[in-house]
């Protein structure tokens, strides 16, 4: 078994705002081996994108990593200088974003944008660099790559643009590819193509992938292990099979039950989690999910649950009092549906 090359330990990221400091990601830890895929799921605002931006340190002026460490190939990225980060970004860790429409610069050709990166990190002679860019475009399945390289992004469809993004992200053979909702803006048939492509490239190059999505279907297709986030915290983590077969946290269960399955009977009523995700300025005390949880007890409302393995030495970790306390204790009355 290969060693972990990335270890994120108790990462905490905060943003300075007019209303004071807000903690966007409270505590995230995970490890990654070469060629492994980790999925991060959660609803909007749960901190999954901020986690990935923290790895790249693309937090802008107002964001800071307050606590924790990111050990990448033996180096702590939280202590790296800006110049060191520049040599890592796009080179050893690269990223593809959600919106292929807005993440390419509209006033430069595809080739221009690819060559910028190749020149910066690989320092190839001009002709070779161009040939390499064409090779990368062909690899991600772009037809007529030697012509497309001179086109502007607006000439390409959404799926093609996302392929260009992937070609750019992979051209320096990164160790880690962060894909932040890579297929959310695309149609299902194009989504299937992009996911297949990512799988193929992962298997060829042994690149580790961190895929962020709100779609459990995408996660089930891609990931080896999964982190479920809710309101800035990891609420459950496990390998993908365990998580889907035996989810322990009420939020994970609720999320799974609320997706309309293709194989289920349509007469069934969908399960829905009552209420909405709490806002960052107004986090509930105790367990952050207790206001929406049908099993919540008095303890959940007052004490913060820690993230603990369900059994000693297990990789399946849950942040829930119900898993850690006496399971026979009677829960308080399940609440009726709160207004969304």
């Amino acid at each position: 078994m290969e060693k972990n090359f990335l270890e994120v330990d108790k990462l905490q990221t905060a943003f300075q705002t007019d209303k004071g400091e807000v903690i966007s990601v409270e505590e995230v830890s995970f490890q990654l081996r070469p060629g492994e895929t980790i999925g991060i799921v959660g609803e909007s605002g749960c901190g999954k994108s901020v986690t990935s931006l923290s790895l790249m340190r693309l937090l802008g002026h107002s964001g800071v990593i307050k606590k924790g460490s990111i050990t990448f190939n033996g180096r702590d990225l939280t202590k790296a200088t800006e110049a060191e980060m520049r040599s890592i970004r796009g080179n050893e860790i690269s990223m593809i974003f959600q919106e292929p429409m807005t993440s390419l610069n509209p006033v430069f050709t595809v080739g221009n944008q690819m060559l910028e990166l190749i020149n910066l990190h690989m320092k190839l002679p001009a002709k070779e660099a161009r040939a390499y860019a064409v090779e990368m475009l062909t690899k991600v399945g772009i037809p007529r790559a030697s012509e497309i390289i001179d086109e502007y992004p607006h000439k390409l469809s959404g799926g093609m643009r996302q392929r260009v993004m992937i070609a750019m992200a992979l051209s320096c053979k990164p160790k880690l590819l962060i894909a932040d909702e890579p297929t959310t803006a695309l149609d299902v048939t194009i989504q299937a193509q992009i996911l297949e492509l990512m799988k193929k490239l992962r298997d060829e190059s042994n690149t580790a992938i961190m895929i962020i999505s709100h779609d459990l279907g995408v996660i089930a297709e891609m990931a080896d292990k999964v982190i479920v986030m809710y309101a800035g915290q990891v609420v459950e983590e496990a390998d993908v099979f365990t998580l889907f077969d035996d989810p322990k946290h009420p939020y994970t269960k609720g999320l799974m039950d609320s997706i309309p399955h293709l194989e289920h009977d349509s007469d069934q009523r969908l399960f829905s989690i009552p209420g909405t995700v709490p806002t960052i300025h107004n986090m509930p005390k105790g367990c952050r999910f207790h206001t929406r949880c049908q099993y919540a007890t008095e303890k959940c409302a007052h004490e913060k649950p820690p993230l603990l393995p369900i059994q000693p030495e297990s990789d399946h970790r849950v942040r829930c009092w119900l898993q850690q306390d006496d399971p026979h204790r009677a829960p308080i009355q399940p609440r009726t549906e709160v207004i969304a």
Binding site: E43, V188, T189, H214, F241, I259, P260, H261
Partner: protein, 329 residues
Amino acid sequence: MSLIKSDERTPLLEVQNLKKYFPIKKGIISRTVGQVKAVDGLNLTIYEGETISLVGESGCGKSTTGRAIVQLDPQTEGKVIFKGKELSTLSSMELRKIRTDLQIIFQDPYSSLNPRKRIGDLLAEPLLAHKLTDKSEVSRKVDDILEIVGLSKFHKSRYPHEFSGGQRQRIGIARALILQPKLIVCDEPVSALDVSIQAQVLNLLKDLQKEFQLTYLFIAHGLGVVKYISDRIAVMYLGKIVELAKTEDIFKNPRHPYTQALLHAYPIPNPHLRSRERIVMEGDVPSPANPPKGCSFHARCPLAQDICRSQAPALQGDEHTVACHFPLG
């Protein structure tokens, strides 16, 4: 699903050979140099009390169809007949009257509510515009409708920005519902919402349908959502319906290769099924400004033959119609 056969049910809305072309203009004097055929010859009958869904990828003309049906963007050609009246022949006064029965819910709950108006005023607006209710009654009706969609009357004096996405979509639904319409066109009402909120809104739409005997034309791209809500499904590709059947038939026995490809492409939230056999369709949707000759799907179809490249197939069949020269199953 009602047990009455489809020919005995009364059609509420009929769409006949609907076409909607958008001109492509170029140059200083804006000459028309071409046309985007967003919807190109669409026939559809919607019966009372059912939910029929339009699915397809972006650019296939599903939203354009929805907007043409409520006459927000009237069609270029063809007829929309609602309750026996052809909508394009009506005067604007008559159309306004009939719109009380024909409402639409929009996709984006963030941009479809006027940010400067309070919720109470937003909801009262349709009632006042159509002069349906006494002014004294308006307030009570607004209270009622808020309750029905799961909000409370205390929300009346708030502005849209104070609500979450799911709540805003409930307001959008309330706005459509307050006129007690017969048919509601739901244009991707849950696409912008999170999974857990999506389930709340879908359940609400289903409950309202039962309570008020509503008919829905549901436009979506997510197959899971469509399966949950519809009685019948029409699959669209490049401005045309390529397959139309009962929900179970579409999912159990898809006959058009495109429908099958859509089903195969849908990511299943079960990691044990990830190595299942499936067809990943290649290529993109062709441009509707320059659709391919013959069957519009032939360039991406694994089964395409010579005839597919030259002749467009017609929709065939009674209950389960499909437009393909070589239908599956």
